[in-house]
């Protein structure tokens, strides 16, 4: 795993103001993040915690109030960075009057792709997301799942190096959710970096390498999922087909380091428990980094 | 829970809708059947207001789908739209863009077809102002007719609007028949196939007669639809149909139509004028006038006066002498001063005293009531009747000059006579002969015609004292003098209208040309006496404080 930094934010803050310039909401407070190439990075947090704001800032849809957001080492406001980015918005905001082919063709043109490349790419993507049978129907007739898939296809039209997914699994049925997760994992296999945000913990737990937990605009937790969830002083044995005798034996074997071990690891708490404990802690002591984390991840400097 | 709440909400909405329907129906329920006959309901408030102010479309006139569509299309802002268009029309008028001007007028009236003054104002604009801008008389005629067409459109949208109907009559009659170009206009009008329906007979294609018809319609609207006459008195309003008939008769004579046709035209005019005289016309102060019935009302005054006095003979004199008794010495002294020596102040006092001494019928009736209570009802009735007859009689006397009643009555009468018809014909032919460069024949015809005029003046001496006929006759005589000049002849000694000229030639155009008096034995007696009286009266009126009646009262003996 290479360690090129793809995304970097430095004390990134965002304050929403009303029409008169009065401060309304501090949506993001001094976020420091670094995301390396090839990672699947999850932004986690309850509604209104600043996940989407972060993504919008990274995309240049919003301008930071202070701090900087760098993507591929370039300022997020710089349009040219978009050449290597794919973005799937929270809901697929697409032109409903276009059909799948036209949609992809349109976005392909926006990447200034020549016609032949575009044609091939469009066909591939439609095939990949499994919408071959509906590619001539206008999007307004699409179901939620189909819209999501065509949304993903448009995010991949340029074969991006960095993919930002905003709530990729909301509104999908379990099968759809599974497929989406597989797709994400597949993207990592292709060496792409994925930044996703979600409030669905199971998704994040399943696919993310690292996560950051945000609450009320503040970074509460940051680290590898496995590390974060490890309970250090407990071991869990996971086995199959053991007779009573065998079980008895296993105890001996384990004590003597013999027998077939299917899995032997530290038991993990669920992400849900972790998450809730952080939220509770944050509510009790606002403005402080959560203390649950066992090990800080470099180069996490405490947020202001 | 939420399902229940939404159900409750729906019920509340329904109730609110139901409740709102009550005021809505109170406001805007349509009228069913006719509200006049008492059958059915008179509808909601708005419907009743509409009926009261006669605003509903069915009352106003034709409903035009295009107009309704345009009204709807402005989404209730037609007032503003009409205002903008009006501005635009003014601009077009200023910049002499007549096509767009008249097109804009159409749009305005489509938007607000029941705004009567718009029709009136802009029709006037077209017929009078726009037509004037054109140099070619055919163009002018076109725009005059455009104004008339415009007005006629207005009458379709606003049936029974007396103002528009009256204007139609006025435009057709006056704008065509009295313009400087009236000869040309009337010719064009007669030949105007676009204006006249195909089945209108040629003799009816006359601007005066058609104008008269529109006046009749206006009268009908006033009589039958309780419409008010605006912009002019009722008296003037009702005089026009007959007047237009007079103008018609005079005009066809000027165009060379004589004999029975002309006589019938004048006969109709006389009938119309009589009808006008019989009409009971309201005055501005809620009294009435009936121009043709002066004698009747005077008799009524007299009759009621006598009857009232008969109830209590001598009472009126008694009251008056009672009041005289009460005069102060100072007042008596003033009364004693001879009329001629009173100062202005003194005259005012005398007038005041005279009014005080005057016993009015109601004062008399009041006294009768005190003295003879059993006669009170009768006395008051008579006093009322007397008062009424008195007012009407004085109204008639005051109003007759307003419409030149006596003159037109006499005119319609004398024009029917053989003398008048012949006089007109001879003069007309004489003019034609003169135009055809035959001065001898012209002179002969004129002299015959003037003889006839002399006969007319003898029969109707009052006719020339009114301006119109007198001026007309003066013009005839001037033309005659011109014909004489052509023949190098002076005015002959036996010139039949000498007396008229002397009386009437204010500008002294002909008088100086008249031959000396002594050589005219035929008219000498009459003429000299008139002349004398004329001179006298003129001198007299210039003199200090001598009422003209004194002179008139003592005619000089021959």
């Amino acid at each position: 795993m290479a360690s090129d930094v793809i995304i970097e934010t430095r004390a990134l803050s965002k304050v929403y103001r009303d029409f008169w310039g009065r401060q309304k909401v501090r949506a993001l407070k001094g976020l420091d993040l670094e995301i390396q190439q090839g990672e699947i990075f999850g932004l986690l947090g309850p509604n209104g915690s600043g996940k989407t704001t972060t993504i919008k800032l990274l995309l240049g849809l919003l301008f930071p109030t202070s701090g900087r957001a760098l993507v591929f080492g370039r300022d997020a406001v710089d349009v040219s960075k978009n050449e290597r980015i794919g973005y799937l918005p929270e809901e697929s905001y697409l032109y409903k009057f276009l059909n799948a082919e036209e949609t992809l063709d349109f976005y392909g043109r926006l990447f200034d792709m020549p016609a032949s490349v575009r044609k091939q790419r469009v066909a591939e993507l439609i095939e990949m997301v499994g919408l071959d049978w509906a590619k001539r129907r206008p999007l307004k007739e699409y179901s939620k799942g189909m819209t999501r898939r065509i949304g993903l296809a448009q995010a991949l039209i340029n074969d991006p190096d960095l993919i930002m997914l905003d709530e990729p699994t909301t509104g999908l049925d379990p099968i759809g959710t599974r497929e989406m997760k597989d797709m994400i994992l597949k993207l990592r296999e292709q060496g792409k970096t994925v930044l996703m945000c979600s409030h669905l913990l199971a998704d994040v737990q399943d696919v993310c390498d690292r996560i950051a937990i945000l609450h009320q605009g503040e970074l509460k937790e940051l680290g590898r999922v496995d590390t974060l969830l490890t309970v250090a002083d407990v071991t869990q044995v996971h086995a199959r087909g053991l007779t009573d005798a065998c079980q008895h034996e296993i105890r001996e074997v384990i004590s003597r380091h013999q027998g077939e071990l299917i899995s032997m690891e530290n038991p993990t708490t669920t992400l849900e428990e972790l998450f809730l404990s952080i939220v509770r802690d944050s509510a009790a002591r606002p403005g402080r980094r959560a203390t649950v984390a066992s090990e800080p991840v470099p180069p996490a400097s405490p947020s202001s | 829970m939420s399902e229940r709440r939404s159900f409750v909400r729906k019920v509340v909405y329904l109730c609110a809708i139901g409740l709102l329907l009550v005021p809505v129906s109170w406001l805007s329920a349509p009228a069913t059947r006719s509200s006049v006959s008492g059958q059915g309901s008179s509808g909601g408030k708005l419907a009743r207001l509409r009926a009261d102010y006669k605003l509903s479309q069915a009352n106003l006139g034709e409903i035009d789908p295009a107009s309704e569509t345009i009204k709807l299309a402005t989404l209730g802002m037609r007032g503003i739209a009409a205002n903008l268009l009006w501005e635009k029309a003014n601009h077009y008028k200023m910049t002499e863009d007549w096509t767009n001007f008249s097109a804009t007028l159409e749009q305005i009236t489509k938007l607000q077809p029941n705004f009567v003054s718009v029709w009136q104002y802009q029709a006037w604009n077209l017929s009078y102002n726009v037509s004037y801008e054109f140099d070619d008389y055919r163009d002018r005629y076109y725009w005059v007719m455009r104004g008339i067409d415009f007005l006629e459109d207005g009458t379709r949208y606003n049936e029974n609007d007396p103002q528009l109907l009256w204007d139609m009559g006025w435009f057709l009659g006056y704008k065509i028949g009295r313009a400087d170009e009236h000869v040309l206009y009337r010719r064009l009008f007669k030949d105007d196939e676009e204006y006249h329906p195909a089945d209108r007979p040629r003799e009816m294609r006359d601007n005066w007669l058609l104008g008269k018809q529109w006046f009749r319609k206006a009268q009908y609207a006033v009589d039958n639809f309780q419409k008010e006459v605006e912009g002019r008195t009722d008296l003037i309003f009702h005089s026009y149909p007959a007047l237009w008939q007079m103008y018609y008769a005079a005009t066809i004579e000027s165009e060379g139509v004589f004999g029975e046709v002309a006589r019938r035209a004048w006969a109709t005019a006389a009938e119309d004028w009589q009808q006008f005289g019989e009409r009971i016309i309201p005055m501005y102060d809620n009294t009435i006038v009936q121009l043709g019935r002066l004698d009747y009302y005077r008799q009524e005054v007299e009759r009621n006066h006598q009857q009232l006095n008969a109830l209590a003979p001598g009472l009126a004199d008694a009251i008056q002498s009672e009041r005289r008794q009460r005069l102060t010495d100072a007042q008596r002294r003033v009364l004693a001063i001879p009329i001629d020596e009173r100062s202005t102040d003194q005259r005012a006092i005398v007038n005041q005293l005279a009014a005080m001494l005057q016993v009015t019928p109601h004062q008399l009736a009041g006294r009768i009531q005190q003295l003879h209570p059993e006669k009170a009802v009768e006395a008051h009735r008579l006093a009322d009747a007397l008062q009424h007859a008195n007012v009407v009689a004085s109204n008639i006397e005051r109003s007759r000059p307003d419409v030149n009643y006596d003159y037109w009555k006499m005119r319609a009468e004398f024009e029917q006579t053989d003398d008048a018809l012949l006089a007109r014909e001879l003069i007309h032919k004489g003019s034609e002969a003169f135009a055809a460069a035959d001065p001898d024949l012209a002179r002969e015809l004129y002299e015959q015609g003037l003889q006839k005029w002399r006969a007319i003046l003898d029969a109707y001496p009052g006719i020339v004292s009114h301006g119109i006929t007198g001026d007309e006759l003066m013009r005839i005589i001037e033309q005659y003098v011109r014909i004489l000049n052509q023949n190098d002849a002076p005015i002959p000694a036996d010139f039949p209208l000498r007396q008229f000229v002397e009386y009437h030639d204010d500008e002294n155009r002909i008088r100086g040309l008249l031959p000396p008096v002594s050589e005219s034995p035929d008219t000498s007696t009459d003429g000299s006496s008139e002349e004398a009286s004329e001179t006298d009266s003129r001198d007299g009126s210039g003199g200090e404080d001598s009422p003209p009646t004194a002179v008139r009262g003592t005619p000089p003996s021959p």
Binding site: L110 | N100, E194
Partner: protein, 605 residues
């Protein structure tokens, strides 16, 4: 008339301007752009400085300007094309074709509110179709352009667009081009439909009413035609069987007779004198008064509209037009076509004998240098009627000697036309544009579509404004903003005159007080000296920005060429090019403004 002064050649207009202008149009454009840029820079810095402090603000402003300028011209044709195409598709989805349906409906029911029996139905019909098209197309352009971008932002479809390597400029330009294309297509259909409509409604012929034909004096026949299009003509046919009708509703017809007397067939041609596109050559008008003194203007006869001034008849008073470049090369047919319109003012209508005849006038051609005059031609004035004279090259001078038009009557190509009124106490009225030479006619069809091009130009300007406004305002606000620009643009002249104090009633505040207080425009304000001074000062302060705004606004009334087409004058290519340049200038300027607005705003909430 529509053409008051000679139209400048395009390049001269663009680079140097007319004699009254300090600069040509292009220098003006750059001056305006630079001024606007400097003002925007200062304003932007001030706002930024207030928000972020002077140094941070300066930094941000610097980055916006430098980054903005760098990216301004990074335009990928493919992306612009894609966005324009999307715009077209979106317009179609928003039922832009309803406009067409409405237009066709209007044409179908035009008879309800257009009367053919107008004095000049051609003018009415042409101006009607052009005006209706203008309003419809401008409204359509307005509604489409102002809602598109705000809708994208509201629906967040913009997220998927701006996260692609799309520059804000491409979004603005794509929108402008897309709507321009839609407008162009709609206009093209409307233009064709209008053309067919006008030609079908105005084009007509008559049958000869055979029963009206009578033998005329000197051979030939006289009669009337049957009614068509709510009018009929008098016909005169000469002995050879060729004839023409009189002029009614602004046109006349040619009539040809075939066959002999008994079974003669009459063929009435299409209307003449309409469907014109005259190419006038204007001269300079001056007057001499009744005593022969030179005067810049004639007499006023008291018309509110001081456009024309008058000369007195029966005196030395004359109206003199001087034409330049009267050369044989320009008038190749060998004759000089002069068209003259005269207004008549009569101090009296004339007596019964002369009331039905026009006033006699005279026209003389004169060499401005030598004073040599052609033989006097007299004519009877007819108002609202263009009198056409074809002066042949071989003429007689005032003494009856033969002279040559170009050789003897012109001096350095200059020729004078003297018009006088011959009747005492009557007046002729004229304005500069009332007399012109007409070397040729342009095709009406071409001119008609040039008229539509002028609508196209206006549509472009509206689209540019609409899109620009929609880059920083929400849909309804952008609409109102653009409507305001449209309305103010229509009254640009008036606004300028208010701003420069040329109208009665004072500035905005003063006029408001006058309106509320129902005061006369001409009288002094009755508010007292001090208050009046305050009001006047406030007005003076207000009128400056008003002047600035009014100067920047597009002059829609000037761009509209409805009257040119409807009154039968060719829209000169130079003028059209000027208008197109003006609209392109707006397009470019507003593109830059829109680009900066879109670039400096956050598209997400």
């Amino acid at each position: 008339m529509v053409i008051e002064t000679e139209i400048l050649p395009f390049w001269q207009w663009l680079l140097y301007g007319g004699s009254d202008d300090a600069f040509g149009a292009l220098p003006w454009f750059f001056i305006a752009m630079i001024t606007a840029g400097v003002v925007a820079l200062l304003g932007g810095y001030l706002i930024s400085a207030v928000r972020h402090g002077p140094i941070e603000g300066g930094d941000r402003t610097y980055r916006v300007v430098v980054g903005g300028l760098k990216n301004l011209l990074v335009l990928s044709p493919r992306r612009v094309y894609a966005l324009a195409r999307l715009t077209v598709q979106e317009s179609l989805r928003r039922h832009v074709l309803v406009t067409l349906a409405v237009f066709l409906l209007i044409l179908m029911f035009a008879a309800l509110f257009l009367r053919i029996d107008q004095p000049d139905p051609f003018k009415l019909y042409v101006s009607f179709v052009l005006t209706a098209t203008t309003y419809l197309v401008l409204l359509m352009a307005l509604f489409l352009s102002v809602f598109s971008l705000p809708n994208d932002i509201k629906n967040r479809t913009i997220y998927t667009v701006v996260t692609k390597p799309v520059r804000p400029g491409e979004i603005v330009l794509g929108r402008m081009l897309g709507f321009a294309f839609v407008g162009t297509a709609v206009l093209a259909v409307m233009g064709l439909a209008s053309y067919v409509f006008v030609v079908r409604e105005i084009g007509h012929t008559h049958a000869i009413a055979a029963q009206t034909l009578q033998d005329a004096e000197g051979g030939g026949q006289k009669g009337r035609t049957e009614t068509a299009n709510a009018h009929r003509h008098d016909v005169t046919i000469d002995r050879e069987g060729y004839g023409r009708t009189d002029s009614v509703q602004g046109h006349w017809h040619e009539v040809t007779q075939t066959g002999s007397r008994e079974d003669a067939q009459y063929d009435v041609g299409p209307p003449q004198g309409v469907f014109l596109a005259r190419v006038p050559v204007l001269g300079k008008l001056r007057f001499i008064d009744r005593l022969g003194e030179d005067k810049p203007r004639g007499i006023s006869v008291g018309n509110e509209w001081g456009y024309r001034s008058y000369i007195e008849g029966g005196t030395q008073a004359a109206a003199i037009w001087t034409f330049d470049e009267v050369t044989p090369g320009r008038f190749e047919d060998g004759y000089l076509p002069i068209e003259l319109t005269i207004r008549v003012f009569r101090t009296h209508k004339g007596d019964q004998d002369s009331i039905d005849r026009g006033i006699l006038g005279s026209i003389v051609l004169r060499n401005p240098q030598t004073g040599l005059q052609s033989e006097m031609q007299s004519f009877r004035a007819r108002e609202y009627y263009v009198d056409q004279q074809y002066v042949s090259r071989k003429l007689l001078d005032s003494d009856g000697n033969p002279i040559d038009l170009f050789d003897d009557l012109t001096h350095n190509g200059q020729l004078e036309v003297w018009v006088q009124c011959l009747k005492d106490e009557q007046y002729f009225g004229m304005a500069q544009a009332d007399c012109y030479l007409r070397p040729r006619n342009q095709s009406f069809t071409v001119n008609f579509f040039k008229g539509f091009s002028s609508i196209w130009v206006q549509m472009l300007v509206v689209v540019a404004f609409g899109v620009m406004c929609s880059t920083f305002l929400s849909g309804p606000v952008a609409m109102m903003f653009t409507v305001a620009i449209l309305v103010m643009g229509l009254f640009k002249d008036f606004m300028l005159r208010i701003a420069t104090g040329d109208v009665y009633g004072g500035g905005p505040i003063e006029s408001l007080i006058r309106i509320v207080g129902q005061q006369n425009l001409m009288s002094e304000l009755n508010t007292g000296d001090v208050t009046t001074t305050v009001i006047r000062t406030a007005d003076a302060v207000i009128t400056f920005p008003m002047w600035v705004v009014a100067s920047i606004l597009p002059d829609f009334r000037g761009l509209s060429k409805v009257r040119w087409v409807s009154e039968g004058f060719d829209i000169s290519p130079s003028l059209l090019a000027q208008d197109v340049s003006v609209s392109l200038a707006y397009l470019v300027g507003l593109f830059v403004v829109g680009y900066f607005f879109l670039r400096t705003r956050e598209v997400a909430k």
